[in-house]
């Protein structure tokens, strides 16, 4: 499928894209296919892009997703997270009602997928969350030519340019060398970001044990079980304070300003996130070492991807929709914001239990 309708609205058979996919309260609904994509409420049949908890929720009748996403849901919600499940491979085509769907790598986290929905001659790609930057822990993002491209806009402002993540890791290692008596505590989302940071540290030649907050042990070991080498990992719990000097530890972002941090010797608080590009955001959180490492496409990535898909129409979801819609329009593309509620930072769902809980 190519971009034959660029800029136009003359769809064959009068089938409009919004008849194929439309936003409803439960999420993005495909009526002719009888399913929802990443529904925020329990539905009969759900097609899920990736394992983050704002996209993958429990309680659906049937779930279609990649094996990794299904495994992650099982880890988080237990065996009965859905009535039935079906694992889908990248590139596999599946017929649902009047449409066919096909999964393509999204490069966001392990198992993340874009979902191409084709009905007659119209192809819509729901890209979920994605990034076009290299990531040693997941299959690289793939451009999928389509008529309508549904894009996230988490970092949809031209101030968000993420640079090379390897440089950020160099910054972290320079700080560890300069402050060998302190611990470096890196806030990172438990699913995806943490494992990527570890893999980047290993790529940079750091081979000392890396310490983990209890909340991210299980998912990290799952990554290892999928063949992603992360080197020696240890639990923070039970380690003496003095022994944590000079080490790097990873924790969910909310834990880095928690009582939990008191077990570290004079910790340097780092945070690996695309938000760290903006100083006020970093300062607000009391971060001493912001690391601009993002699992979402930055501004240049979003705009380059939109152009590469050849789509004539762009729907923009969660994030800074205004700027990206404006950009599309100034580049001759039809664009509109999709008002989908319930997606955003993983962080809220990533929060550890309330104050004082050991994790």
């Amino acid at each position: 499928m190519t971009a034959k309708h660029r800029g136009g609205t003359a769809y064959i058979d009068g089938m409009r894209p919004q008849d194929i996919l439309m936003p409803v309260a439960a999420g993005l609904c495909c009526k002719p296919g009888g399913f929802h994509i990443d529904p925020v409420r329990a539905v009969e049949r759900a097609v899920i892009t990736h394992g983050h908890s704002d996209h993958a929720r429990p309680g659906h009748g049937a779930v279609l997703a990649t094996q990794e996403t299904l495994d992650m849901m099982r880890l988080r919600y237990g065996d009965n997270f859905a009535g039935t499940t079906q694992a889908v491979r990248y590139g596999e085509e599946i017929r649902l009602g009047d449409v066919t769907i096909k999964f393509h790598p999204a490069g966001h986290v392990l198992g993340s997928a874009q979902i191409a929905v084709t009905c007659k001659d119209t192809c819509i790609v729901a890209s979920g969350d994605y990034k076009d930057a290299t990531d040693p822990t997941c299959t690289p993002f793939e451009v999928v030519p389509c008529d309508v491209f549904i894009t996230e806009a988490t970092f949809g402002l031209p101030v968000f340019r993420h640079g090379d993540a390897a440089d950020e890791v160099k910054k972290l290692l320079a700080s560890v060398a300069l402050f060998p008596e302190r611990a470096h505590l890196v806030g990172a989302y438990s699913l995806g970001k943490a494992q990527r940071v570890i893999a980047l540290l290993r790529e940079a030649g750091y081979d000392a044990p890396i310490y983990l907050h209890g909340a991210m042990e299980e998912i990290t070991h799952y990554y290892e079980s999928r063949g992603i080498a992360l080197g020696e990992l240890r639990a923070v719990k039970g380690v003496k304070k003095a022994d944590l000097a000079g080490t790097i530890a990873l924790a969910p972002p909310s834990a880095t300003s928690d009582i939990w941090t008191r077990r570290f010797p004079d910790p340097v608080t780092a945070f690996a996130s695309g938000w760290m590009r903006v100083r006020a955001r970093a300062r607000q959180r009391g971060i001493e070492l912001p690391l601009v490492i993002s699992d979402h496409a930055d501004w240049d990535g979003l705009t380059a991807t939109i152009e590469a898909t050849g789509a004539g129409e762009v729907w923009v979801t969660h994030g800074q929709e205004d700027a990206l819609v404006h950009w599309c329009k100034t580049h001759g593309l039809a664009a509109r914001p999709l008002d989908l509620v319930g997606y955003g930072d993983e962080e809220e769902s990533d929060a550890v239990a309330a104050d004082g809980t050991e994790a």
């Binding site: 402002l157 640079g163 903006v278 006020a280």
Partner: protein, 550 residues
């Protein structure tokens, strides 16, 4: 430039003083001349070039970006330099011969000579060549808005650490140095002679006092000490000296060595003899010392108007002499310096400069009585501006820093009230997991009956153990959360009473209570006291009245 930018970037986030020092020293160690010298100049505020106006930066970005996208971005980021640094488009540079990003030296030396009309083009070229952080630092530098919480003193201390030198030693030679400080770094790295200070009126590192505790007196002999009033003003060093051409140069320094001469032009003519006086800056009206509140009107002024100097006449109360003409007196015992000072002040014959009188006493009891009632012990009408007594050993040399046992300060008891903890906020750095900033209030009658009104904020004064206790209390008694701020229960029978000590009170329209405290700190936790028994706003208003009318 990118390396310097990285340093600034890291410093901007680092709250700890020692860690800042380590970062700066590491930068000096790994950065070659002359870049590190210009960095030192930038950090100490010693660079001089015409700053670019924000309008120019706006024009540059307007030429290159969509105005709607710029508007949305600026709204989001909130800082012009940062917005421009982040969204500056990647330059469409031809082929392989991209110029390397500019060095800090290149930027500084170019800016010094660049004409106004050439600035926009040059700036754009640099912005093309630098990365995000580099652009941010460049824009902060050229707009003169480098607020990163580094004092000149801190930067110099970091440089001194490079050669394991005492920062005082560097401070002594500093006035004779100029960017990029090649001779300084040569000396610090053991490759060159110590630079000589040719400044005619250099700053000398000041001697500081220890706070005396009740238990100290038992080991001290009153006969060994001279006492003076401790004035509630600003510690300064007034230095005069002759330059190569024999002209007298006079300078006024703060206790950290910052040159504050420009703020007090009315004092300069009185410094007409070569020498270095250590003393207190005060405002005197009709011979009477005014309170610190009055003196405050003269501080941090960019423009000193004739009206200001007339309404707030400045005065120097001298208590030590560090040099008399060319002679360094710092190795002499205090009583000999005092005799030289008395002669020096007499010779000056200036009404704006007088001697800080000594306080007679023959026993610690007598001094206790004098401290409790300065007005009948010689301070007379100036008693309000006395915040305690100073004790100086008769044989003390003038030593930089805070040498043990030489000088003591014995402050008057601070003012104390009992207030109720209302809100708590997380601290920074080491304290980021603790609720360590406290807003406290006192009772007043409002529309809804008795209510607490906030009167101040304190974040020190407690021990580590007490911090743990308060932190626990805050977490268990939170009623609401707003971002980093927690509302803590504050009912008549539920809540925590804090004993707050402070140095003074001022009227303040900015505070809901109408009063502002000076130097408030937590002096005790009153777990024993129910909040209903905490103090009332009327108590503070009464205190304020006595402070301003006495």
């Amino acid at each position: 430039m990118n390396r310097f930018a990285e340093l600034l970037d890291r410093l901007a986030y680092e709250p700890g003083r020692n860690n800042k020092l380590r970062l700066i020293t590491a930068y000096f160690r790994h950065t070659p001349d002359p870049d590190r010298g210009y960095a030192l100049a930038a950090l100490t505020g010693a660079l001089s070039f015409k700053h670019a106006k924000p309008g120019l930066i706006r024009d540059l970005i307007a030429d290159r970006t969509d105005p709607v996208l710029f508007g949305l971005s600026y709204d989001y980021v909130g800082d012009l330099s940062e917005t421009v640094a982040l969204m500056w488009p990647k330059a469409p540079l031809p082929g392989h011969n991209n110029p390397p990003p500019p060095t800090l030296s290149e930027v500084v030396t170019t800016l010094r000579t660049l004409g106004k009309t050439e600035l926009p083009k040059q700036l754009a070229r640099w912005l093309d060549e630098l990365d995000e952080t580099g652009r941010w630092a460049l824009l902060k530098l050229v707009t003169g808005a480098m607020r990163i919480g580094i004092s000149a003193r801190l930067a110099k201390t970091a440089a001194a650490a490079l050669g394991d030198k005492d920062p005082h030693e560097l401070e002594l030679i500093w006035p004779g140095l100029a960017p990029p400080y090649l001779n300084l770094f040569a000396w610090l790295e053991g490759r060159g002679e110590k630079p000589v200070n040719r400044d005619p009126a250099p700053f000398r590192p000041v001697m500081l006092a220890h706070a005396i505790e009740d238990s100290d007196f038992a080991n001290l002999d009153p006969g060994d000490f001279v006492a003076e009033w401790k004035w509630d003003g600003i510690r300064v060093q007034a230095v005069s000296g002759r330059d190569e051409r024999g002209h007298l140069q006079a300078r006024l320094y703060s206790r950290t060595g910052e040159d504050i001469t420009k703020s007090f032009p009315d004092l300069v003519p009185s410094l007409h003899l070569p020498g270095a006086i250590d003393g207190e800056l005060l405002v005197l009206r009709e011979g009477r010392v005014q309170t610190f509140n009055v003196l405050q009107q003269r501080l941090n002024r960019k423009i000193v108007s004739p009206k200001l100097t007339k309404d707030f006449p400045i005065h120097l109360r001298a208590y030590d002499l560090l040099s008399d003409d060319e002679n360094d007196l710092r190795e002499l015992p205090f009583i000999e310096r005092r005799a030289r000072l008395e002669a020096f002040v007499r010779k000056l014959g200036e009404s704006r400069i007088d001697l800080s009188p000594t306080v007679r006493f023959d026993s610690w009891d007598a001094l206790t009585a004098a401290r409790a009632d300065p007005s009948s012990a010689g301070a007379g009408e100036d008693a309000d501006a006395v915040e305690g007594v100073m004790l100086k050993r008769r044989d003390a040399h003038y030593l930089p820093g805070r040498p043990k046992g030489q000088w003591w300060k014995w402050k008057r008891d601070p003012h104390i009230i009992d207030a109720v903890l209302m809100y708590a906020q997380r601290g920074h750095g080491k304290r980021s997991s603790f609720y360590s900033d406290y807003t406290f209030g006192v009772w007043t009658s409002g529309d809804d009956g008795e209510q607490l009104v906030p009167v101040g904020k304190a974040y020190f004064g407690f021990t580590d153990e007490e911090l743990l206790q308060i932190d626990r209390f805050v977490r268990r008694n939170t009623t609401e959360k707003f971002g980093p701020v927690r509302h803590v229960v504050h009912e008549p029978d539920q809540g925590l009473v804090l004993e707050v000590a402070f140095e003074g009170l001022q009227r303040s329209p900015r505070h809901k209570s109408g009063v502002a405290m000076r130097f408030p700190r937590i002096s005790r936790l009153r777990w024993d006291k129910p909040p209903r028994e905490a103090d009332r706003l009327e108590t503070l208003e009464r205190m304020l009245k006595t402070m301003t009318t006495n």
